[in-house]
């Protein structure tokens, strides 16, 4: 009966090999990139000092706050609206596509494919593609965020439905309830907390991403960030970044509070 011992020894060896492989991949890639690990790391504090000196908001940049604030609100609104619309679309599609509630396995595979397609095109690529059709406008940003978020949420919602609602669904089906009764009385109430939790998470993410998209579409906080940056007003850029960080943190705290209440 030496097999468990052999198994553990093998497992140990495997772990060593894995660590060695990761180490050599790192070494190889830094060699390819001409990336000198040591001087790379020592440069980090220097970079931060430079940042601290040049990007510190001054009294002048404080005067810009109302304008920054207005643009920030626009950006948050963009993130929230695109996420909410995406969530509604994703919920419908996920119900049609999930293994538990869906039409059939073909639809399931197709929906998974579509979701993965939307999810795996980088946000920046979406924005740049959409710029051709919709020019620089809030709508372009809205659509780019929407499409990517739909991709994420469809997959998340399908998995939530399959994990959390299958058992109660079966119980209601057994009482003779019809399909729509089962969806409304069992599936939706059962998955609601996880669903809201995901939507909040996507809103947090999309506020950050909306900033990035704004640089491309020339809207919201991204636009003035870009503007200040290109006109070398680094103190104003610092102010903008600070404002973004504060809003993101506030949103995170807020959504954690909401989660605590609903879960």
């Amino acid at each position: 009966m030496s097999s468990p011992i052999k198994f553990l020894a093998q497992k140990h060896r495997k772990q060593t090999v894995i660590i060695a492989v990761i180490g050599s991949i790192y070494a190889l890639s830094s060699w390819i990139l001409n990336f000198d690990s040591f001087s790379g790391f020592t440069a980090v504090p220097k970079a931060f000092t430079w940042l601290g000196v040049n990007f510190s908001p001054t009294s002048e940049s404080v005067e810009l706050l109302p304008r920054i604030w207005q643009k920030l609100i626009e950006t948050v609104a963009l993130a929230v609206s695109s996420t909410v619309v995406a969530a509604i679309i994703a919920l419908f599609v996920a119900i049609l596509g999930s293994k538990a509630t869906g039409i059939n396995n073909y639809v399931h595979v197709i929906v998974r494919g579509i979701a993965s397609f939307f999810r795996n095109i980088p946000l920046v690529a979406w924005a740049m593609i959409l710029l051709f059709s919709f020019k620089q406008s809030d709508f372009t940003g809205f659509l780019a965020l929407l499409l990517m978020t739909v991709g994420y949420l469809i997959r998340a919602f399908m998995e939530i439905i399959e994990d959390e609602a299958s058992e109660t669904m079966m119980a209601l089906k057994a009482t003779g309830a019809s399909y729509f009764q089962v969806i409304f009385q069992a599936v939706l109430p059962q998955i609601m907390p996880s669903l809201i939790s995901w939507v909040l998470y996507m809103i947090e993410n999309n506020v950050r991403d909306a900033t990035l998209v704004g640089i491309l579409t020339g809207t919201g906080i991204g636009f003035i960030f870009d503007l200040y940056f290109k006109s070398f007003r680094f103190d104003a850029v610092g102010m903008t970044i600070l404002a973004i960080i504060i809003v993101v943190i506030v949103l995170e705290v807020l959504s954690n509070q909401i989660r605590k209440v609903i879960l």
């Binding site: 058992e167 019809s178 729509f180 009764q181 059962q190």
Partner: protein, 251 residues
């Protein structure tokens, strides 16, 4: 009366999960199905309300075959068959009374059911049934806040409000401690007699099956091995089911 005739099912080709299962139960009777893990007990039970589509045979409820139902006939049959699950399968986020009222969905129009609109009589009956299963004061509590035994009693109330001819229980006490197990089994037995229902339960506890069931059916590798009055069940018969002595279990 519930009659099962020559029920057959295989999930994969040449690997029969059920072969030629036949038995019948009269109203007011409690039938226990026992057998080792993977024998096919769940498959039988879920075939009885067609949650699983079996391959061949007949399932007659008062003479009409559930297997040949179209969609709306199946819905009418299903509402006469309550089901109680090992994991209770309640909507945890909803209140106790909402979960009980779910048992009425099969009788409602799609729209009324979707939005959970119930009549006064239905609500009153839900409260009476909660009283009957000993949960009178829990009506407005969220199901997630109940103990396992309490959840199972909500599940039983949900099936009773269907006015069922049959209640199917798939290991109703497998997740419960001994005391709650007895409460639940006692309740099922008592309701079977009081409402003149057919109760079919998959059980792993042979002593409880003997104590509460009127008849016991043994399943092994998809085949019916015995069908006995529970008082007649002997050690020799049980050995044919499990391949080992289980006299300890019987004590």
């Amino acid at each position: 009366m519930l009659e099962v005739k020559h029920l057959t099912k295989s999930y994969q080709k040449d690997k029969p999960a059920l072969t030629d299962i036949s038995f019948s139960v009269e109203p007011g009777n409690f039938l226990a199905i026992i057998g080792p893990s993977g024998a096919g007990k769940t498959t039988i039970l879920r075939s009885l309300n067609q949650l699983i589509k079996d391959d061949d045979g007949q399932i007659l409820l008062d003479g009409s075959d559930i297997r040949s139902d179209n969609k709306s006939q199946l819905r009418k049959h299903r509402r006469q068959i309550g089901m109680v699950f090992q994991n209770y399968n309640l909507v945890e986020r909803l209140t106790v009374i909402e979960n009980v009222l779910h048992g009425r969905l099969g009788y409602k129009s799609t729209l009324a059911g979707m939005f959970g609109i119930y009549s006064e009589e239905e609500k009153k009956e839900a409260l009476e049934l909660l009283d009957k299963v000993g949960l009178k004061d829990f009506a407005l509590q969220r199901c997630s806040e109940l103990s396992g035994g309490q959840k199972q009693r909500v599940g039983i109330a949900r099936s009773l409000i269907q006015h069922p001819k049959v209640i199917l229980c798939d290991e109703p006490i497998a997740s419960l401690d001994p005391a709650s197990s007895h409460t639940v089994m006692h309740l099922l037995k008592q309701l079977t007699i009081e409402f003149n229902i057919i109760c079919v339960a998959n059980l792993h506890q042979i002593n409880l099956a003997k104590k509460y069931a009127d008849r016991i059916v043994g399943i092994r590798q998809g085949k019916l091995v015995f069908d006995e009055e529970s008082s007649m069940l002997s050690e020799e018969i049980l050995e044919t089911l499990y391949d080992q002595s289980i006299s300890k279990e019987l004590e």
